[in-house]
Point group: C2
Amino acid sequence: MNSKSSFRIDPMTKTLPIIDTVSALRQQVNAWRTQGHTIALVPTMGGLHEGHLSLVDLALQHSDRVIVSIFVNPTQFAANEDFSTYPRDIKTDAKLLQQRGAHLIYKPLSSEMYGAHETTRVIVGKIAQGLCGTSRPHFFEGVATVVCKLLCQASPDVAVFGEKDYQQLLVIRTMVRDLSIPTKIIGGKLIREADGLAMSSRNQYLTKSQRSKAPLLYKALQQVVDIVEKGHSVSQSIKAAKSQLTNQGFVVDYLELRDADTLDLVNKDTRPDARLRIFAAASLGKTRLIDNLAVSNLEP
Amino acid sequence: MNSKSSFRIDPMTKTLPIIDTVSALRQQVNAWRTQGHTIALVPTMGGLHEGHLSLVDLALQHSDRVIVSIFVNPTQFAANEDFSTYPRDIKTDAKLLQQRGAHLIYKPLSSEMYGAHETTRVIVGKIAQGLCGTSRPHFFEGVATVVCKLLCQASPDVAVFGEKDYQQLLVIRTMVRDLSIPTKIIGGKLIREADGLAMSSRNQYLTKSQRSKAPLLYKALQQVVDIVEKGHSVSQSIKAAKSQLTNQGFVVDYLELRDADTLDLVNKDTRPDARLRIFAAASLGKTRLIDNLAVSNLEP
């Protein structure tokens, strides 16, 4: 094995090495392992922003070598969703990753992820139901399946996922635990713009007017969290927050208080010591935004 | 890590080392890898017979160290099936494996395979439909899920499965390919008793009278294969073979000619160069027997 031949600066972006096959990925991972390095994977769909880059920082804290995968995963998009328009700009992404200190970009060919006869799906069960699992019924099946493939392809010691997609993080933790995948899953904090809007690749879809309204979603979550922490009625405050968002032009998919570990809805059966978290999804025009916020101060 | 402490002759069976946790398994596998050894896994549910032991032989040809897992997997049994009565005799199994040259028995605790909150399932799709997938609707979901766990736990270079469970072998090959699991799957030939009965742990359920009739299933397959190889009508010969079996007291679940690679039913659209295989499942009393036989002489 000639590890150097598979680890060259990409000639098109002139930044990091970019590889696109499982065999080249495994060759590089094996070479690093032989050198005694630990390896992290940061799975992304590209369209990178500070949220993703903070995950690269976290990955660098936990391992010697950081692979960032960039793959817009078709199985997690429904037919009416934005698969074809999702941001794809490898030159910008590669430059950002180089600046941040990542070591390798894995941008697999579609055929490496979904071969012609591919039929297998990973179904994670209860934790994938409710919230985004209700409005996007095949979303978590697509996410779990592609992440399972990526983890089996890269065999990383750790993999890093953002808390912006909090339910997704729990789905992946559940899958990795249940299937005994030998990778440690690390969650990275949600990163916000200065005005509070949760960073997302989809924010660039927003018109100027929508962009100015978008931080109201976070403000609505903050309001509910304040009320809950003061011990006041949750249902009233959620109802009020939803109304405010609707009045401002949002179409609210959900705004719900849930157990941060089980994602069970909070009700009279909720353990008194449960960590709580408020979750929201709402659309402005065609752009779907999600956000979440911890309630108790137990959250680190 | 003290690899010796986890690799002792089992004090109860006085044969091979037997370990029952993922962490002990990984400790041993890592120790072997450090020593430069390649590793094979032979997944079984115990009740070992010459069919299983031939898979150990095959595993020894392909790797330096052979782990045999013994786990009666609850998720592949329906409520009315024989989970509780399935043969469990670790002393006999361990002695047979020692004689055959296996290196380690992995007999995981139930909690290592299915934790209290476990919910994830691997669904392999089309190849798991039809044949046993019709009469045992959750069977292959349970098989794929438990094999995915075992492969992630042991990280073997190769894993060996028998062609007795031919559809199961294809389900596992499909899962491993689709999820990019870094293990090579090797199929081992079906082993028969002297009178032609395919070896199975379930054969010990048969009464003396049933046991004497059981080889008729293989004879029925042979008859159909003869007819097909002579170019005569398949449907007539299958109908005749089913009638004969029914007259002898079998309850026939299926007896079908299929493409050996895709498991598609053979019809006018079947490629002329397709490898064909005949598959059967039939019960004698409460005991379900399965068997299969290659048609073309392309089969090695």
